[in-house]
């Protein structure tokens, strides 16, 4: 596994920063991978847009920002406009199906869709949308980036406040076990 | 009839005598203020080894160079924060900031407000000579209105600070003002300031015959001192808001603020290091902090004129 770049884009309040952080942290601390986590950088981070970047490698990561991510997670329409054009052709695209509407067929090898916000709402709190998404990401690309289920779950539970641990665990499992239509 | 000649002065034990005579001009009040401080130290019995003087820049800044104890001559305006850091590192030391009105209230004005607010346990001797003396007599934040300085050649158009009022409102625990003519009361007041827990400040009105007096109808060295004698009024517990100084008018000297002892900034810093405290709940910590709100009631009374 050489260098893999991943980006999660959305709007402020969706928790895309925490989502990126827990994934990179799990890769780095529990899965023996080299991983860097960064927040959206430069001119693309305007307005309420928010994005996190993860770069994973076997060796120490040199340039820490995603240049042309092969894994792109989109949680808002604006994020799609901003980040999709920069995506590596033939990569894996994951979208929040109720918030992102694709124009035409993107040039990707795989397209995955999940109604993460709706799932979170059904669980009782929209705030765990990001963790539903993390669960889904772990399922879809976990093997490809070297992310084990136990590690990412551990990372999530360590990073969220104690009183919402149970809710987050449920959210993670819902995302992980989500069956795409 | 000649006076007995002596080799040593009674305060020599506290002075770096090899550096005397000092740089201050004939009749400068700084020497009187420094003498009062050293006598006060002697009287309260502080160990010079555990006593530190920090000065800023200006004539007063040189004081640190003459005392035989750990002493620091810092940069312009920064004596207070230097002392705050030193006290944070070594709360057991007696730290006095000896500096001038320009250093403490103009360039360093922000620091003294915050040190008073935090109730840092230091003593500040603020030598107010109305002017920037070392650099030739420029306008200071304490220069009385209409006074002539090199940068107010037509007379000062600004209002000076009421240091006593300012410090009392900022939260100082002890605020007093004396002139160098009141040497005995000054010394007693410094003794009180030194032993007071919390932020204490003694404003010492001190003549600068060289750069202020001679431009403002106090031509002779003695004239400036006589001015203080003539215009100062000693009051018991004056209201800090009445500490305004106007040229040619009587001004108040005395103890403007002597608040009851309360935990100092250093006490609170020490408490934070306490393992048990760190383990207590946020609610308990909040209670602890609020219980030790600084003497706000006393302050309100004094400023409200009840005292």
């Amino acid at each position: 596994m050489a260098r893999i770049e991943m980006q999660i884009g959305g709007f402020g309040g969706q928790g895309v920063i925490l989502a990126g952080l827990v994934i990179a942290r799990a890769l780095s601390l529990y899965d023996g991978r080299e991983a860097v986590f960064t927040q959206a950088y430069g001119p693309e981070a305007r307005g309420g847009a928010s994005a996190s970047g993860i770069v994973v490698d076997d060796e120490r990561v040199d340039y820490p920002y995603p240049l042309h991510p092969e894994i792109l997670v989109l949680m808002s329409q604006e994020a799609m406009t901003t980040y999709l054009p920069n995506m590596r052709k033939g990569g894996i695209l994951i979208i929040e199906e109720n918030l992102v509407h694709l124009d035409g067929e993107p040039d990707v090898s795989e397209l995955h869709k999940i109604p993460a916000t709706k799932i979170a709402e059904e669980l009782g709190n929209k705030i765990v949308t990001n963790i539903v998404m993390v669960g889904f990401i772990a399922k879809v690309v976990g093997d490809r980036i070297g992310l084990k289920k136990e590690s990412i779950k551990k990372s999530v539970l360590e990073m969220v406040p104690a009183k919402v641990r149970e809710l987050n665990e449920k959210a993670f499992e819902m995302g992980y076990n989500y069956e795409e239509a | 009839m000649p006076i007995h000649k002596a080799e040593h002065h009674p305060l020599d034990a506290y002075l770096r005598t090899e550096r005397l005579p000092h740089v201050w001009c004939p009749g400068c009040g700084l020497g009187i203020a420094l003498g009062a401080y050293l006598r006060a130290l002697q009287n309260v019995g502080f160990d010079p080894q555990e006593t530190v003087m920090v000065s800023g820049i200006g004539c007063s800044g040189r004081a640190a160079g003459y005392v035989k104890m750990d002493s620091f001559h810092t940069t312009h305006g920064r004596a207070i924060p230097f002392a705050v850091g030193l006290k944070a590192a070594r709360p057991e030391l007696n730290v006095t900031v000896f500096s001038g009105d320009g250093d403490l209230f103009s360039i360093g004005g922000n620091h003294i407000l915050h040190a008073a607010r935090r109730n840092v346990n230091i003593t500040v001797l603020a030598i107010n000579n109305y002017v920037y003396g070392m650099t030739g007599g420029q306008l200071a934040p304490t220069t009385p209105e209409s006074s002539i300085t090199t940068t107010s050649p037509y007379g000062n158009i600004e209002s000076p600070f009421n240091i006593a009022g300012l410090m009392a409102v900022a939260g100082a625990s002890y605020v007093a003002r004396w002139t160098t003519v009141h040497e005995r009361r000054l010394q007693k007041s410094i003794e009180k300031a030194l032993t007071k827990r919390g932020f204490s400040i003694v404003e010492i009105m001190s003549p600068c015959p060289t750069t202020f007096g001679r431009r403002n109808n106090m031509r002779g060295i003695v004239d400036s001192m006589m001015y203080y004698k003539k215009y100062s009024v000693i009051k018991e517990h004056p209201n800090p808001l009445d500490g305004v100084i106007k040229p040619g008018e009587k001004f108040i000297v005395g103890e403007f603020m002597d608040a009851p002892d309360e935990p100092t900034f250093e006490d609170k810093l020490e408490e934070l290091k306490n393992k048990e405290f760190l383990k207590t709940s946020q609610a308990d910590r909040t209670t602890w902090i609020l219980e030790h709100r600084r003497h706000l009631e006393t302050l309100a009374k004094i400023i409200g004129g009840e005292q």
Binding site: - | I3, G31, E183, M225
Partner: protein, 98 residues
């Protein structure tokens, strides 16, 4: 405060309870500012004609005892900005002997 006349009387009667002080000076530190002279409550000090090594006129004692006599109040010592002048009283001397 005891008046000059009273002092004179007491001294003449040999009933003086007034403390007596001796004035000392570290002459090379004196800058001749004259504050000790101006503020001495007993007016025992005057400016001398002599000059010290820095070119200042240090104070000296007046020539008219016993009325103008140092009572050891220490005003000159406290008002001197130059750590130059000080007084020793009888008490100080006793202390020394102890």
């Amino acid at each position: 405060m005891v008046t000059q006349t009273e002092i004179k009387k007491m001294l003449e009667n040999g009933t003086s309870q007034v403390p007596h002080g001796e004035v000392y000076i570290v002459e090379e530190r004196c800058k001749g500012c004259g504050l000790c002279i101006a503020f001495c409550p007993k007016h025992v000090l005057v400016q001398s004609d002599r000059i010290n090594e820095k070119g200042y006129h240090p104070p000296e004692l007046v020539e008219v005892p016993p009325t103008d006599i140092c009572i050891g109040c220490g005003m000159c010592e406290r008002i001197c900005p130059d750590f130059a002048i000080f007084v020793k009283t009888d008490k100080d001397k006793e202390k020394k002997r102890d």
